[in-house]
Symmetry: C2
Subunit: 199 residues, 2 copies
Amino acid sequence: MSKALERRAKFREELILAAERSIGTGGLAGLKTRDLAREIGVANGAVYNLVEDMDELTLRVGSRTLARLDAALTVAESDGPDSPRETLVRIAVAYCDFAAENLELWRALFEHRMTPGKPIPEWAVSEQMNLFRHIYAPLATLFPRRSPEELGVTARSLFSAVHGMVLLGLEQKLIAVPIEALRREIAAIVKAMVEGLAG
Amino acid sequence: MSKALERRAKFREELILAAERSIGTGGLAGLKTRDLAREIGVANGAVYNLVEDMDELTLRVGSRTLARLDAALTVAESDGPDSPRETLVRIAVAYCDFAAENLELWRALFEHRMTPGKPIPEWAVSEQMNLFRHIYAPLATLFPRRSPEELGVTARSLFSAVHGMVLLGLEQKLIAVPIEALRREIAAIVKAMVEGLAG
């Protein structure tokens, strides 16, 4: 790599880390190119030599968040009995814990909207889809006769339902719940859903 | 009522309706006092003689949305067999339909944040809480031995889970689903949750 490219790679990494700190503290709404440029010591305009636009920057931060979520779910998978039902409950509770501990970065994953008309890049879609394997695998063990498509639908529904409970449970708004109570509720509901689906 | 008060009441109503149309079209982010003032024919500053602030205006629009949601859920309740399980499924599907048909106004209910430090007014909290009766009542029939507190927790979890499925299902993003498929999924998952909870 040439010196110039090395230098660019280094600044790009610093920019993404600065954006991650900024989102982690003040959420997506507080992300300002000018502040990031100052923090890493480049001119305002130079930011767009490092990333294509704010969409790419936000997605790169999201990519780091998803990698840490992936690691947390992988730990939860093996952190208890091998039964697919219990694994699904552990995964759901781990998702809740991750969201609580990374509140702003986790919110940013869902609040970010691409500039109108711009599709989400392929690499970002695959990273997001890849996380579904944590739910898909135990469901496939639990329901060996269901088609991959059916399992995909169930995985998506389970995820969305747990996401809703975490989202509203962590809101400091209408129905804020102490985290321990929220974890218990999520475990109870996921258990009920899985029992009910197994008929 | 004096002429001046009548006039104020009329402008206030017009302001709320203009804000509702604006949110319904362009979402909460597109709501601009200046546009509303022009639309109803008052000076910019006069808006804050009609409502306290943007929080109140947004909550008043939300109040109208909640009233229509309440009516839609009431229709769904009596629109089929009296069984509490089937009622819960109908309520969930009706919630999905309402969200799909009132996408921006429904989103605004959840996206609105009060100015930091300002609590949500009592009247708005009660209106929101009042809607839980649609879920609470069939759950109370289904689980007659559970305490009101336990039923409240279950009602909240069921609502949050369905909300999550509707939210991510209607997103034009990662996991957009055709509405008919979404309705089927929600019905299946709610049925499974209720079966599982009934053990």
